[in-house]
Homo-oligomer: 345 residues x 4
């Protein structure tokens, strides 16, 4: 297979390159940028010296359509809704890591992203790429909207209970924490070391653009409008997301029965690992890997359930899940090229 | 005033020393340890070279009773319930930073701390030292039970709404995050750098000993039994606590009216600062200071309220509040010796 | 005294404000910026809420000359050489924290800073403010060129041996390490958290503009041209500098005699602390304080001497030493307003 | 191949497991511990859940001799000198990552490690495993003494100039910096997060046990006794070593000729990457990989050469080089199982 990464100078882009250049079914991995042309990839990333011979090229949709089997868009929001239409009608499938194609209702995109939405046809055509829960549609998709990092961690943790309609309506609270790489590779005072180190911050309270993405999926599963309370925090670390979630149940469960249920649901999902009683995941447990580790525990005193879900935001939350979706789209084993162990310590 | 710090080799102890040695009303600050005797304080803390001439001495209750006006106990749980009875009946007032004297019900202490409780008489005599909300009792107290770090951050954030009975019963969820110094000065694998750095962890889920402390105070305020859901996380930083709290209200409020209400409640509290709309505190905003910064915002989509409260766990969460309580007990201005600005960056 | 801080929105500027607002002899502390006017200081620094009532004003030399006793310039290089001439001829003394007035040879400034130098008259008039070694001149100065952070740590460590001509010519090697706040408060990819965390970097190898500053002072002391080898590294921390220095001696010393000599030299310097045998300083030992901690030890196997010197780059390396110089210029006790203990941990 | 890792619960041990379990020529990877027996490996390392089915077993030399082709000893110093003799005389080759077999002179081991040395016969038989410079001997070895982390970084940087006798005798100064994982997986106050974060420390000044290891190798190359000055520092990060080295040359070189020379020397070494003029490596450039990145630059003002060398201490400085040596010993391609890209960011 020949693949291309657009936005290859960003963090998700270079992580895609790391995965794809080592993927056994990928022969050629082109790298594209909207700001650079004909620059050695190692100029931007010295850690790839003697590893990558790639040259960054300007985006060229015609060339991509001819040469590539799949194009990954690791671009900021606002770009792929222009580029994807140019690519369709070719053999090149598209996996879009930006938020442009995730929300099915154009008005919601406008409201939360503050930009013009993609066309309704394009939104209709794009399949939401939550690999574990949308496999059949992903396998047939031409365009996949790769989920956001927070939605991936949150939805994998909520899915078993929401799908079986066990959760009390409107009871979902998600307290999410992320490392700084989620903000992307950029110069900003807020993301600077001196402002971030030895600091724990809350941001975009009640306003994060991942709120409608999570709610849309919850509604697909439960059939009911769901409003969540969702908070996002910045942790002084580079990679990793933890979503700590609080829900109320409609029926009686205990911790063991919850864990057994989660384990049965995710038995055949190679990247979701459910913890046993008394064990909770840390972000380090999945660092550098495509795993999502989940714990679920009943608070017997309040009868609420606490669900903890961790991912590496650049892998299961971005590049890793994108490659997982590529594997599904091309009929490969889901884990191909994604068997890296977590890096510890 | 002559003061003494027991447990002076720990993090809260040395922070007490920093505050007390610079306190304008303190003449002498003795330092005591349960494990060391006749050792120069600078042997343990080279950063105090040429600053401190103190010698660490073994605990000697008789001497303390004669010489000291106030004794701070910055000891692990289990020690002060033995030591405080020895000190009472003297001029020496006691401020206990361990958890031993906080829970009024001995059975609760046994259940959550797994140790034998202090005597009922001692528990009765100890005044809970949440400075902003218990001033009259603290002023008359001989023994103050200094609040825990998580309870301080949480209770200061919840107090205005709980006191006025605005919160729906059983709706309080506290998602708390702390830096590593909260675990104390000790050798442990869990607290080691390599295990903690670039890692975000959840611990003691539904089992933290600060749960009954918070619930006891909520009940005092509301007159009703309150069960909270409480989660604690470790952030890869040394100092700082953030409590993100979710509550449901009984009546209609909006963000402005909530903020106005909080501002009016804390108008005369020099260490509690309430944020204006759209501004949220970070732990760095209070680093090295005795402030507690609070933001409150209605989630209009779900009608839940998010309350954010930050403190420096070693100051407002331990040594700072202890000195604030000393000021109250001795009729000094509440802010005496506590006017350090937050250190930034 | 009435004082002003120009560049008050930067890290050295806000640290100056922290020291000066708490300085017992300072009545009024104005804050100025080259980019902002009539903005509440707390807008920029929420950690100063309820602490600072100051308003940031545009630079106004006329007003400063009338109202202020001393003006601190915490500006990037290139600005103070314009502003200082406007201020001279008034009662306002100037302490310049930028590099503009440190190098006496205009050509050297041009070569290392790549900008036009200040006038020769201005350079002549400016006194190099290494507080411990230039006290008499500082006391009489109208304009003080406050030393750079690396030169302060390096020169305080080298001074005793260089002044007594004990060091073999051209043998000085300085391997210096700094936290990220040294780069200033700015948005830059290099300074971003994700690029800096879990990373140790070397930069400006053989090219740092502090090289001629150190060499100039060494020459003043030894009377001989000195060329040093000087390397600078970035440590993933916010504050702190360590200079590890390697020198060859002309005569026989041992570790004890070296330490005794250093201790005798710095006996009356309240901010320089010399370590005893076997003890070496860490940057944390001086965090948040104006101390410079020094250790010196002979490597008996190679007969070279290793000198270790640590400072907080924002205090002894910038704002702290500036206030120390103000104290000297105005006949105050050297330690006035500078007795903060190091923050630990 | 069947392999075993002794000391599998430590950081080097679990990193060896990560590499060996993914090594294409390794069929079985047993894990052993001196303190545990019959414990699931995932009990100790939850990040290996659903990845590892291994059970930790007690050390059993007889079984190892029968079953294993190679045994890796990732043990503290003092253990392998007992265990290696039990393993010899079997098909099992040994790669020892402890320091026990590196120093050829028993007296030197005693002096620097403060323990009894291994037998002279064992020391004679052990081949020093600096992969790039000792390939022929490693290929034929039964026992390899895997180099220390600091020596690997230092020697790879010094080798080209020392081997060609270009360096002025006794002129080598090595200023080395390491992340905290180098101290191993253990509970110690010094390694705790609160003591390490936002702190830069120097330790074991002139006394590190890697000094004689480096000097021994320099002497093998140059034929002359070499005494180096060697300083070690702790950086608040988990992985990574940088050695900044200062040497004086006997003949005239310039930066380009030095870089060309280094590039020619390491042309066929797949894991050593030499930087071009103006580019210097950071520890992040090799994080999680087996690379050693080197820059060399003449300081034209002093005629000294600065050499910068970075490695990941757990890979090229421990587990990675050990697997590289295994590849050499068994006639495999040197890079087999070691082609992981550096993790960025």
């Amino acid at each position: 297979m020949n693949v291309g990464v657009v936005g290859a100078t960003g963090y998700s882009g270079v992580e895609l390159y790391r995965l794809l250049a080592n993927h056994p079914e990928v022969e050629m991995c082109n790298v594209y940028s909207s700001s650079l042309d004909k620059v050695a990839y190692t100029e931007i990333f010295p850690h790839l010296q003697e590893i990558s011979g790639e040259q960054i090229n300007a985006i060229n949709a015609e060339e991509m359509k001819k040469e590539l089997d799949v194009v990954f868009l690791a671009t900021p929001s606002g770009i792929s809704k222009e580029l994807v239409p140019e690519l369709t009608g070719s053999k090149a499938k598209v996996i879009d890591l930006s938020g442009d194609l995730r929300l099915k209702t154009p008005g919601e995109y406008e409201k939360w992203y503050g930009k013009n939405p993609a066309s309704a046809a394009l939104l209709d055509n794009a399949v939401y790429g939550l690999s574990e829960w949308n496999q059949q549609a992903i396998k047939k998709a031409d365009v996949v909207a790769n989920p956001g990092c927070y939605p991936t961690a949150s939805l994998l943790g909520l899915a078993p209970l929401v799908n079986s309609e066990e959760i009390k309506s409107q009871s979902v609270i998600i307290d999410a924490k992320s490392g700084l790489s989620g903000a992307g590779k950029k110069a900003s005072l807020t993301s600077s070391f001196a402002e971030s180190q030895e600091n724990f911050r809350i941001y975009k309270v009640h306003q994060h653009q991942h709120i409608p993405e999570i709610e849309q999926q919850l509604q697909w599963w439960s059939g009911k409008k769901e409003k969540i309370t969702f908070s996002t925090h910045l942790v002084p670390m580079t990679r990793g997301i933890m979503a700590t979630m609080y829900v109320e149940l409609l029926k009686d469960w205990n911790t063991e029965s919850l864990q057994d249920y989660y384990q049965s649901i995710y038995e055949s999902s190679p990247f979701v690992r459910v913890r046993k009683k008394g064990s909770f995941p840390s972000t380090r447990d999945v660092y550098g890997s495509n795993y999502c580790d989940i714990a679920v525990e009943l608070d017997e005193r309040t009868n609420r359930v606490t669900i903890v879900s961790v991912i590496d935001n650049l892998l299961k939350g971005a590049a890793g899940q994108a490659v997982q979706n590529m594997n599904l789209m091309f009929g490969l084993e889901e884990t191909t090229g994604l068997t890296q162990f977590p890096i510890y310590p």
